[in-house]
Symmetry: C2
Subunit: 258 residues, 2 copies
């Protein structure tokens, strides 16, 4: 292994994805795209049926070209996993052998917890139609079964790779994925004072319109109204919009009353 290869190896993220005898180039491309979604980098191909490189793989990779360009090409699955220290095999169907078994979620957690951070791990995926053979399965010390409805357990190749990448990416984000709790425009959250002023404006107009009737219900009606707006965590911009809305509505009303 050249020095450059070694450095690449050290730098790359996550487990290797090993596609054993993939049949269609487009599936290699969509698998590469799925790897990119999950931040996986190391693709290894064992005897792709249509040869390599493959034009259709490029077409379906949707920009995950780097992964295809760096993909390793191997004659046997054994050669493709030779440098790895922990090999998993994906299969939908239990075979006639005894082997530890886990879900993608449990498997990536185990990979992440290794000293290597998972770089010395790899996951074997079988050909589209037939899946991995028993000869492939004995290269792996553990099997990954992707949870799926019992009546429909077969995933296509890229989708199986996606699940691995998706779980890999999620497992590395302690904040359960770096997704914000909500989208926000540029506007900052409104202050309590701003919200209270909005309520004053609204309730003054409603008073003028005779909305709070009978009078003894007024406090409860106000509470209910306020709660509607309080639940939504208004932004400063939205508060201004609502001020405008109230003004427009009540302005019209005043005109109507003339």
């Amino acid at each position: 292994m050249a020095d450059d290869d070694l450095r690449n190896r050290e730098a790359r993220q996550g487990p290797s994805v090993i596609l054993v005898e993939p049949q269609l180039g487009e599936n290699i491309g969509t698998a590469a795209r799925a790897m990119a979604n999950g931040g996986l980098e190391d693709l290894r191909l064992v005897r792709p049926r249509e040869g390599w490189p493959n034009r259709r793989a490029r077409a379906t990779a949707s920009g995950a070209d780097q992964i295809l360009e760096n993909a390793g090409l191997f004659e046997t699955a054994a050669a493709a996993v030779a440098d790895l220290r922990k090999v998993y095999a994906t299969t939908a169907r239990p075979r006639d052998m005894v082997k530890p078994c886990s879900t993608p979620r449990k498997a990536v957690a185990a990979m992440r917890s290794r000293r290597s951070g998972g770089r010395d791990c790899g996951v074997l995926f079988g050909p589209e139609r037939t899946g991995l053979t028993n000869d492939h399965l004995v290269l792996a010390s553990e099997v990954i079964v992707i949870p799926a409805h019992p009546e429909f357990t077969s995933l296509n190749l890229a989708q199986a790779v996606l699940v691995l990448g998706y779980e890999w990416f999620q497992s590395g984000n302690s904040r359960a994925t770096d997704v914000p709790d909500r989208f926000q425009r540029d506007s900052r959250p409104a202050t309590s004072r701003e919200v209270q002023d909005l309520f004053s404006h609204l309730e003054k107009q409603l008073d003028a319109a005779g909305f709070f009737y009978p009078p003894e219900k007024r406090p409860a009606m106000i509470r209910n109204l306020r709660n509607i707006f309080l639940r939504t965590d208004l932004t400063e911009q939205e508060v201004r919009t609502l001020h405008g809305m109230i003004k427009a509505l009540s302005g019209k009303k005043w005109e109507d009353l003339e």
Copy 2:
């Protein structure tokens, strides 16, 4: 709505999947397959570009025909979600609006916890190339963002649907997916007595072969050997296989020694 429709509605599982203006029939088919993987049943199509029904959708559904046959066809996204009580929109890109946002995992947990078990929920998926417009997003009270690598956030349509279905299926399996801890042949786990007998056999043969040298190291060597086999939780069948292996190996040795 006919009585039959109502009954279907009550019986079906999980949230509706609403594909808004999907461009390619094959993507509808693979999305249906992904739904089947996750046990989702209700597919709704808004103005599919190639018309409906679609031959290529059938070809790529890999047996998820029932979902395609039962798919609802709508002229607008608003009509497609009209009967739902909680609508989510999927998008990779935050838009210029304020909206609660969650991951697929959090969203399906919330759906499951509803009194309806999620049957009154739906998830909008946009067209392949462009995604949902702001007009679609305002049909939804919440946005689902699929966690993905920041440099590669775009999933294809079927893969986005797969992630929803995958999380839906997993969230319903308290035993973290009904996947066994390991695959097992018919053979039962070996008893401790059977394993101890195996050790006796092995160590007797190794003693005869002069393996344990120097003698003071014998106890530690035996411990190490036993631990290798103890870690693997042998089955009764495997114990017999190992007996045979030891016999075969040591038998050969005896002959060699003659």
